[in-house]
């Protein structure tokens, strides 16, 4: 019941050395080609050489030729799956529908907005808070008692900090005890950030 082993093909050691020499030759070819030119043709030839080398190793070293057809189907199937994956992604990853080469400019990034020209005003701050801050800090400023965001009301230390420190954490974002505050310097103008802080101070108290 002992199957004709795939290697019982009578290859002498010399045969393998010859294959090895051919492989080295192919390597030299692709190295030389790679060195002298950069044209897409050269790249295509280099990959063709690489594929040929792989085929040589498969056929002579791994003796895949002597395996029954369905064994070769396994490897070919895996390569086909990777091919389907590659082709399926070309439209999205290479041609990228809707790609913005320069990257997304955030809504408030134009230079006029980096300095707060007016004194902070809680009235304007209320609208900024309602749109951007309420989702986490909630209307009552408790941040669902500290589970979603800082709790201004019951955690006195939060608003006890000076304005400069609070403005900095609004601008650059902050991560503490499992909560993460996104940075707002790209999304809100300096004026809006100052107004929002003024609203928070008046609404939830604790002037420093």
């Amino acid at each position: 019941m002992d199957s004709p082993t795939a290697t019982g093909s009578g290859h002498g050691a010399g045969h393998y050395v010859r294959i090895w020499a051919v492989l080295l030759g192919a390597l030299v070819v692709s190295l030389v080609l790679g060195a002298i030119t950069n044209s897409p043709w050269a790249i295509a030839i280099i990959f063709a050489v690489a594929t040929a080398k792989a085929a040589l190793v498969l056929a002579h070293f791994m003796h895949v030729k002597l395996e029954p057809r369905w064994i070769r189907l396994i490897g070919a199937g895996a390569v086909a799956v990777v091919g389907v994956f590659f082709i399926g992604l070309v439209p999205d990853i290479v041609y990228k529908f809707g790609f913005v080469p320069g990257g997304i400019q955030s809504a408030q990034a134009n230079p006029a907005n980096t300095v707060a020209k007016l004194p902070p005003d809680a009235g304007r701050g209320a609208t900024v808070y309602a749109t951007f801050c309420l989702a986490c800090h909630q209307a009552d400023g408790r941040g669902k008692n500290g589970t979603l965001a800082a709790d201004f009301v019951s955690d006195a230390s939060r608003l006890a900090k000076p304005d400069s420190e609070l403005l900095a954490s609004i601008a650059n974002g902050r991560q503490a005890n499992g909560l993460s505050m996104p940075p707002w310097k790209d999304a809100l103008t300096a004026q809006q950030r100052a107004d929002a802080l003024a609203y928070i101070r008046t609404q939830f108290g604790r002037k420093p």
Partner: protein, 200 residues
């Protein structure tokens, strides 16, 4: 996950229930399936690299910083160790465990040289500030070559274990399986070399 756990052996089936419905030793059927899953992993990573590469032609100048000489030398090392692996398998196939073990040791040595050159390359690149976070090309470079190096280490341990068994004349069928796995690792490098080094 080497195939050293393969139960069957070319020459002396160990257990009564040990026959093969297809005539092929089960170990060899298993190694091809294992390579299919490896092709899917490496293929997926290389496909992602190629997709990004097609979108970023400017990576070519970053790829120029890869040390082609080291890559070429490593290719020669792996090709040679593939030769020694097939000679080991050739010897094992004729039942000569001793010679097979010697060729296997050459193959493992080839793997060590490869890893040595790789380590030098990594040190040289990291020294020059070319770390994975530097740019996406380098992220892929370290992902692909790192994953390949891990598989070289895996292949070397498999070869070493099988080599020790072969020296004592046991499980000679496994030499062929470890050799097939090593050739696969070599074939992956045959594709990685032009992708990362030459294409610049």
């Amino acid at each position: 996950m080497s195939s050293s756990a393969a139960a069957t052996d070319l020459h002396a089936p160990e257990r009564a229930g040990d026959y093969t419905s297809t005539g092929l030793p089960t170990g060899r059927v298993a190694i091809w399936w294992f390579l299919a899953s490896e092709i899917a992993i490496f293929g997926g990573a290389v496909a992602c690299y190629l997709l990004y590469r097609l979108h970023h032609p400017e990576w070519a100048e970053q790829a120029a910083h890869t040390v082609n000489a080291a890559g070429a030398f490593n290719t020669v090392v792996l090709l040679t160790s593939s030769l020694s692996a097939v000679l080991a398998h050739h010897a094992a196939e004729q039942g000569d465990g001793k010679t097979a073990a010697r060729w296997i040791n050459w193959t493992v040595l080839g793997g060590l040289v490869f890893l040595g050159v790789k380590a030098w390359e990594y040190a040289h690149e990291i020294g020059a500030g070319l770390v994975p976070a530097k740019s996406l090309f380098w992220s892929f470079y370290f992902l692909l070559t790192g994953l390949h190096a891990l598989h070289v280490i895996g292949g070397m341990t498999a070869l070493y274990v099988v080599g020790r068994g072969a020296a004592r004349g046991q499980h000679l069928g496994r030499v062929e399986l470890a050799a097939i796995y090593w050739h696969f690792v070599d074939v992956v490098w045959i594709f990685l070399f032009p992708l990362l080094y030459i294409a610049s």
